[in-house]
């Protein structure tokens, strides 16, 4: 046949592209599992969790807002103003504290803009941080543990008790598990104590809404 060389060239190109695509799909690479960005401050969660600092000590807005905040420099300096002041790792933090310029953190778990995810909704239902973020207290530098695809979210929404982890002590979520309740404790009531909201007792996790508008509005 004529043009065999061009034909072969085209075929090979198509095959390479197909293989590449399959590779991406099958290895979840395009979803970013395992993505470990380099941070400007080499903060290690493993080192700090030794001291039983809960997740919510730094990321305190996760209970009340849709986003979980990065800790402010002041949060770091509560301890580090006196501890390990000459450590090299702290140089950037101290500079930020003196100059009042905020630190730049690179986001590990980033959802696209057309998705509206509310942390407080999920924490209020009695789901632990580790369900989606993994065991962060054992990570030196945080890497992505879940694919964060829509299919993965919907799977859990359909059957949450199979995937959800109930709140652990290290997370710092103020949560009273179903077993240890008194009959006198009011369910569905919120107790306010020193501006902290106590999460009500969770009902057993029910399937959540899989309607489009709950996340895409």
């Amino acid at each position: 046949m004529k043009y065999t060389l061009q034909k072969v060239f085209a075929l090979v190109l198509v095959l390479i592209l197909l293989a590449f695509n399959l590779f991406l799909i099958l290895t979840y690479l395009r979803t970013g599992v395992g993505y470990t960005p380099i941070q400007s401050v080499s903060f290690s969660h493993k080192v700090h969790s030794r001291y039983n600092i809960s997740c919510l000590f730094c990321h305190h807005q996760v209970e009340i807002n849709s986003y979980a905040n990065y800790p402010t420099t002041r949060t770091c300096m509560t301890c580090h103003i006196a501890l390990k002041t000459e450590s090299e790792f702290l140089k950037n933090v101290v500079y930020s504290y003196d100059s009042l310029i905020s630190l730049n953190w690179n986001k590990v778990y980033d959802l696209p803009d057309y998705v509206r995810f509310s942390h407080s909704h999920h924490i209020r239902s009695g789901i632990d941080c580790a369900t989606c973020h993994g065991n962060v207290e054992e990570m030196d530098s945080v890497y992505r543990v879940r694919p964060l695809t829509m299919g993965w979210c919907v799977e859990c929404h359909k059957n949450p008790s199979a995937y959800a982890i109930s709140p652990r002590e290290i997370s710092g979520i103020f949560y009273i598990p179903q077993d240890s309740l008194d009959s006198s404790f009011p369910s569905h009531k919120v107790l306010e104590y020193n501006l902290r909201l106590i999460i009500p007792i969770s009902k057993p996790l029910q399937p959540a809404s899989i309607e489009c508008s709950s996340c895409h509005n």
Binding site: Y3, Y70, W105, Y114, S213
Partner: protein
């Protein structure tokens, strides 16, 4: 295939391949938030006031991360009680508009603010010392702080004269009438709260009025009836029960006629009213027996209103009418607005001052004589040397070109001030955001610094805030500042609406005056009457694209308002309807307008609602028209027919008030009770019927002010698309108002707000090829933009034609996209997706999260949609179906196009009147 062809195809295909790939943005930097207990989602509410032509209207501003993104009314404010107007909502645009971020300049060079201020103050001081006069013209703000500053300045320096000029002189006619009859110098505002009959002589209190927020929230067609006498076509006339058309010069005579007829009926002691013998009988026909019967039946509950711009004669006649029908006393509710003593408002600026006195410098603080059509002043400026004129305004306009020194003004959300409400309380204007243009200064700050400089030779702008806070605490003892600021005003005034002590009523002198003025003839030349329109009060809001695109309520025209006149004049001058003409005036000025005839008017002049086409200066009332020349290739856009054009197989022009035929379609054909069996709906099991979200519309209350359209655009980040798109019927309004002229429902014109009906059996849901639109359990038809591929099948199938499409991305289509102004909770749509009213689902999700945070029961939260919050007459109500049906037990619910079996969820409540 040749080698070259193959290679080119390969290259092109690889070009497409690589151009469609985009690396995801995996690197993201975030800002650190503040370290204290934040409000939910960082959304905070602050309350402040908007100067509605100087008078305070209380508003609540919603901010995210301290940047405002939504404005709603403050329901506790004594003047407006939560009502708003379109320019107030749209003023957010002016806050973020980069066009106003100008540099101050002297001559042609740019400087920063402190240099310009010191230069200005220095030159003013020199002028005063030389013995020449300095004239300062301020915008009118009803604020005790400004009055005090002005008084202090005027008392310390003889050669400094400060004038507070309103944009249009709305009160001098009424005040001269008040002087005559009551011997008072107040402006009197009549309340309509408890009246049953309102007889209105050309006052457009439901739209084009200075006190529109005051009247709008008291409008209730079930409680009172409105009878309007007018020559122009106004929105109040369209909303009244009966409308009597007369010519301009007939109004006073008709009013006096009514007075004499009524005085015959109320035979009380001292018939001090004498008939005017030379009234011709023809004018008596307008006053029907029906009107007189109604007035007699409701003795003591009748109010007579007349336009602020009417002559003192008409005002006097109205007072006399009030007096007789209410039993020879003024029993109804009046509010006195004190404009005289503190504000030096009544010292009218005498234009002969300009020629006689020795004038050095002229300063304009946010007052524009071009916009206010103040021709002696604007002519004066054009001849005056530039270095002696100083001006300050938000935008650079014609006045700025004629001034030697200019500094930009601050937006009202950027500085502190206080306002006086008419019940004695003080409203606070809070600073919500730091001044976005760092080189700007506001009127009170300028006066404050000027006072400091003239006495001490130095000024400090930062002391202004402590000055204002001292003023707040001076007026009151032990002020809880934070609490009061959160409510928006310091409540010291009385709650009651007083019957003010109006002094001795001087009847005889007023009657003499009336008879005298009626016996004079009025001119009947070809005239143009310019009426200030709410959407562009003398051009103040003309730079605002939201107000330009929203259709003007009376003619449904966008991007330009035509000149209106009656059919008679049309015929006489042999004009063609809707065509554009170039009008030539005696002093060689020219204006280009489209001209539209109105069947419902007998005006023998043209009338025009001003908008941004006014660039020339001319006298307010009358112009001497010389010639009309038709212009080709101009057009104006009437979008009233866009929605229902191809409905029911006929081409329909629905209720164009400008055309001779009213609607071909009757309201009954469109609106009816549903015969649809809900148990047969495909969504029967999916929708929780008791918890369905439903919007109820009180059709008779809707006045057609188009505020819901502005609110929806601002809340949902809808682009303003401009003339080209609208002429192709590609407008992006999620809600629109249709007009029907059917007096049997009690009003002359019925306004019907139409938005997505969220049908239970929606024709748009079943045809989407990718399933981008579906129904949620709570009854809302949701739209998922990320799934939509742009087939537009849903737009075709929707019988109400409420779905809009993004032909280009909304940021590109938007004439001037301001990202800071956009609502952070609503997606900004990309190209190729269709959109429609979502019942503000972002607000529903927000309320759901907030209620979950508080631990409330599920489904126990209330949501207000944007249109409901904005509606000044509360015609829209959004809530669960149970609640709404229980509260409207006695009324019949109607739906739009019920025979199509779409089972819509917008409940229209429309009662046939008892006539």
């Amino acid at each position: 295939m040749e080698r070259r062809d193959f290679l080119s195809r390969l290259l092109w295909s690889s070009f497409f391949l690589f151009s469609s790939c985009r690396r995801p943005d995996l690197i993201f930097t975030s800002k650190v938030k503040q370290d204290y207990f934040p409000p939910f989602e960082n959304v905070a509410n602050y309350s402040t006031t908007f100067p509605w032509s100087g008078f305070p209207v209380g508003i609540n501003v919603k901010t995210i991360n301290d940047a405002p993104f939504w404005i709603s009314g403050n329901p506790f404010h004594p003047f407006s009680k939560g009502a708003l107007a379109a320019p107030i909502l749209a003023s957010l645009y002016n806050l973020y508009d980069p066009l106003r971020f100008n540099h101050p300049r002297i001559g042609d060079k740019k400087f920063n603010l402190s240099e310009v201020l010191s230069h200005t103050f220095e030159s003013l001081l020199e002028t005063i010392k030389k013995g020449q006069k300095v004239l300062v013209f301020c915008e009118y703000l009803h604020s005790p702080t400004i009055w005090k500053l002005q008084l202090d300045l005027q008392n310390s320096f003889e050669n400094l004269a400060i004038y507070n000029l309103p944009t249009f002189d709305f009160c001098s006619n009424q005040i001269s009438a008040n002087r005559m009859i009551f011997d008072e110098k107040f402006y009197i505002l009549k309340d309509i709260h408890e009246t049953k009959i309102i007889v209105n002589f050309e006052r457009d209190f439901l739209f084009n009025d200075l006190f529109f927020p005051f009247y709008a929230n008291k409008f209730n067609p079930k409680k009172h009836k409105i009878y309007t006498f007018e020559s122009i076509v106004s929105l109040t006339g369209m909303n009244s029960n009966r409308r009597y058309i007369l010519s301009n010069y007939e109004i006073e005579r008709v009013a006096f006629n009514l007075l004499t007829l009524l005085s015959k009926e109320f035979v009380n002691s001292g018939s001090a009213f004498v008939e005017l013998d030379d009234i011709s009988l023809r004018e008596n026909e307008l006053i029907s027996q029906e009107l007189i019967d109604e007035i007699l039946r409701n003795r003591g509950n009748v109010v007579f209103l007349c336009s602020d711009f009417a002559s003192p004669t008409l005002h006097l006649i109205c007072y006399l009418l009030d007096y007789i029908t209410n039993g020879n006393t003024f029993t109804l509710n009046y509010h006195k607005i004190d404009l005289s003593e503190k504000s030096n408002f009544l010292e009218k600026f005498d234009s002969s001052l300009l020629k006689t006195q020795n004038i050095g410098k002229v300063v304009f603080l946010n007052y524009n004589p071009y916009f206010s059509l103040n021709s002696p002043l604007s002519e004066f400026i054009e001849d005056y040397p530039k270095e002696n004129v100083v001006s300050s305004s938000l935008y650079a306009n014609k006045l700025v070109e004629h001034s030697g020194c200019y500094f930009p003004a601050k937006h009202y959300l950027e500085f502190w001030l206080d306002y006086a409400n008419f019940d004695g309380s003080i409203s606070a204007q809070q600073q919500i955001i730091f001044p976005l243009n760092s080189n700007s200064i506001s009127t009170p700050e300028f006066l404050f610094c000027l006072k400091d400089y003239l006495s001490k030779r130095k000024f400090n702008l930062e002391e202004y805030k402590s000055f204002i806070f001292k003023r707040y605490s001076e007026s009151f003892d032990s002020v809880e500042l934070r609490e009061n600021l959160s409510e928006g005003f310091f409540s010291k005034g009385s709650d009651q609406c007083p019957h003010p002590n109006l002094g001795r009523v001087q009847l005889r002198t007023s009657i003499e005056f009336i008879k005298q003025s009626l016996s004079q003839q009025r001119l009947q030349s070809k005239e143009i009457l310019i009426i200030p329109h709410q959407y562009s009060y003398a051009g103040e809001y003309s730079y605002n694209i939201y107000l330009n695109e929203i259709p003007e309520p009376i003619s449904s025209a966008t991007w330009g308002i035509p000149l209106f006149t009656s059919l008679d004049l049309f015929g006489k001058m042999e004009l063609l309807d809707g065509e554009t003409y170039c009008l030539k005036f005696s002093d060689l000025k020219e204006l280009v307008f489209p001209i539209v005839s109105l069947e419902n008017s007998k005006a023998n002049y043209f009338f025009y609602y001003d908008n941004y086409y006014i660039h020339k200066n001319f006298d307010f009332d009358y112009l001497d028209l010389v010639d009309l020349v038709r212009k080709q290739n101009y057009y104006y856009l009437d979008i009233s027919n866009v929605r229902f054009e191809r409905l029911l197989g006929r081409k329909i022009h629905l209720a164009k008030f400008s055309r001779n035929n009213f609607s071909d379609i009757k309201l009954e054909e469109i609106l009816g009770t549903t015969g649809y069996d809900e148990s047969k709906s495909i969504n029967k099991n999916r929708i929780l019927q008791d918890r369905k979200w439903v919007m109820s519309v009180d059709v008779q209350k809707c006045i057609g002010c188009n505020l819901c359209m502005v609110a929806c655009q601002i809340e949902n980040n809808i682009p303003i698309v401009g003339i080209e798109f609208i002429s192709k019927e590609r407008d992006m309004f999620w809600i629109g108002i249709q007009k029907f002229a059917e007096p049997k429902y009690g009003k002359e014109v019925i306004f019907l707000p139409i938005m997505c009906q969220h049908c239970d059996f929606a024709p748009c849901e079943s045809v989407c090829p990718v399933g981008a639109t579906s129904h949620i359990q709570e009854g809302i038809n949701e739209m998922t933009y990320s799934r939509c591929v742009g087939s537009r099948f849903c737009m075709v199938n929707c019988p109400y034609k409420v779905r809009k499409f993004n032909f280009i991305s909304s940021t590109e289509a938007h004439l001037n996209f301001l990202p800071r102004m956009s609502n952070p909770f609503v997606t900004i749509r990309s190209r190729g997706v269709s959109e429609k009213c979502t019942f503000c689902i972002h607000r529903i999700n927000f309320a759901k999260s907030l209620s979950k945070l508080k631990g409330n029961e599920e489904y126990e939260y209330d949501v207000k949609t944007a249109c409901q919050e904005a509606c000044p007459v509360s015609a829209l109500f959004f809530g669960r179906k149970e609640k709404i049906l229980t509260s409207h037990k006695n009324s019949e619910v109607k739906y739009l196009l019920p025979k199509l079996n779409t089972s819509p969820n917008i409940l229209y409540f429309l009662n046939v009147s008892d006539e």
